[in-house]
Symmetry: C2
Subunit: 267 residues, 2 copies
């Protein structure tokens, strides 16, 4: 079979589709709006990844899943954490089906294994075939098995970067709840200046200046997000970070129309 | 890694956990009772498969998915059919999590592909690892990709037989909404005599005498069920067919206690 023709990998942050100050709190209005924008954009070769927000993160933290299997009692926590992620994914898929998008969910923990937290074995034959057939695969951050740790948490950001690299995507779009990468933390500093264009070298300088994430996020928030994206950007896949809370930003980014945000390129 | 120590593959029929005269009609009381019985039995090395009932079947039929991809409009039907199966599976997993069972759902369409309707490529590394770690994988009949047909419907019965054979299970248990295999159709004939012990040779003789399924079932009802089980029984894996609507039958079958039903052995 020919190579999957993936054009774009779009990540929708957990902070966009859930209320991270709550627990199991989905923002179904935002989910619905974003599904509508994706339908309207009608992007060919699109793969979507979403985060865990107030579904995955509080559970993963409570049971210490990211650090791996240390005691038997964590196993129930693993079951629960994966289950709540399927609930959030179900709400996302409901919206896609409602908007007649040819979307198909792919369960990360069913088809991939990590080694020390990094994807090491991804049985991606179904995923590639879905893309070739014109379906839009939807994946998400998940509790997954790990050859060294027993199990761990796979972030949606690692998935995004892995998929973009391995499916030879042309671009990544990352929808978050801030305007992009700023000189300071925009959740603390109202005057935080948005950085519209960054190279990998600019990024390195920035990483020390960016603050810690502002709420519960086992995957490291913006710092972790940027670190995860670097390997894909190094391969020449540019990333546009946009505020997915703002109506039509996802749509415009998908269409390639001008949209406020941060573009990160190799050089 | 050592071979997965699978002892039992348990199938719960779609007619047990859904109302097949309706559509998207889950019998959550039955789902809850069966989850409780599985928790109480505490069977090591257990894999569970459930059917689609009034979730998967009406959708699969409406879009003609079993026969494969013939027109573009079926693709949305494929998305919908898989989605409603994840909804049913979500209700089943809710019950397991509620009863503190270390269950983990495995999405068939995410990790396997069929060829002309038969499983040809199953990336089962996560599944085997889950079993080795003491988790209980839960799979289900699903809309899946097919190398020849584009896509098709994979029955829970084929999955049951495949898993039992390939994971070298000791036994299969099939929970349905009748008492077992009868000389005539028990849904029509009240005096239908239950056949308690059958060999494969007995089965062959019976197959011509068994009637058609009594309601919508794209996977062929009891006839299809029995035909699917034969390859596993030929390998020496016995199957017990029980009425899972009757309280404690699933529990007793799992414990190996005497329970009314039909046992099918190689000879």
């Amino acid at each position: 079979m020919s190579e999957a023709r993936v054009n774009t990998v779009l990540k929708i942050g957990g902070s966009v589709i859930t209320d991270k100050s709550g627990e199991l709190a989905a923002k179904t209005n935002e989910i619905n709006r974003i599904a509508e924008e994706i339908k309207k954009a009608n992007t060919q070769g699109l793969v979507v990844v979403h985060g865990g927000g107030s579904f995955g993160h509080p559970y993963a933290q409570r049971y210490g899943l990211k650090e791996g299997l240390k005691q038997e009692s964590q196993k129930l926590g693993f079951s629960e954490t994966h289950h709540v992620m399927t609930v959030l994914n179900g709400l996302v898929m409901d919206a896609f089906v409602w908007h007649a998008v040819q979307a198909i969910s792919i369960t990360p923990s069913s088809c991939l294994i990590t080694e020390n937290g990094r994807i090491s074995d991804f049985a991606d034959a179904p995923l590639k075939r879905y893309v070739n057939m014109g379906f839009m695969p939807v994946l998400y951050g998940d509790a997954v098995l790990d050859t060294k740790l027993g199990f761990t948490i796979l972030s949606g950001d690692q998935l995004l970067s892995y998929l973009a690299s391995n499916l030879h995507a042309e671009r990544m779009i990352v929808g978050v709840d801030v305007d992009g990468v700023c000189e300071s933390d925009p959740k603390i500093d109202d005057d935080a200046r948005l950085l519209k264009n960054l190279t990998l070298q600019d990024l390195k300088k920035l990483q020390v200046r960016l603050g810690k994430p502002t709420s519960s996020d086992v995957t490291g928030g913006m710092l972790g997000k940027i670190a995860e994206l670097v390997p894909a950007v190094e391969k020449g896949i540019e990333v546009t970070i946009i505020n997915a809370m703002k109506p039509n930003y996802v749509y415009r980014a998908l269409k390639g129309d001008p949209v406020e945000g941060t573009v990160i390129r190799k050089e």
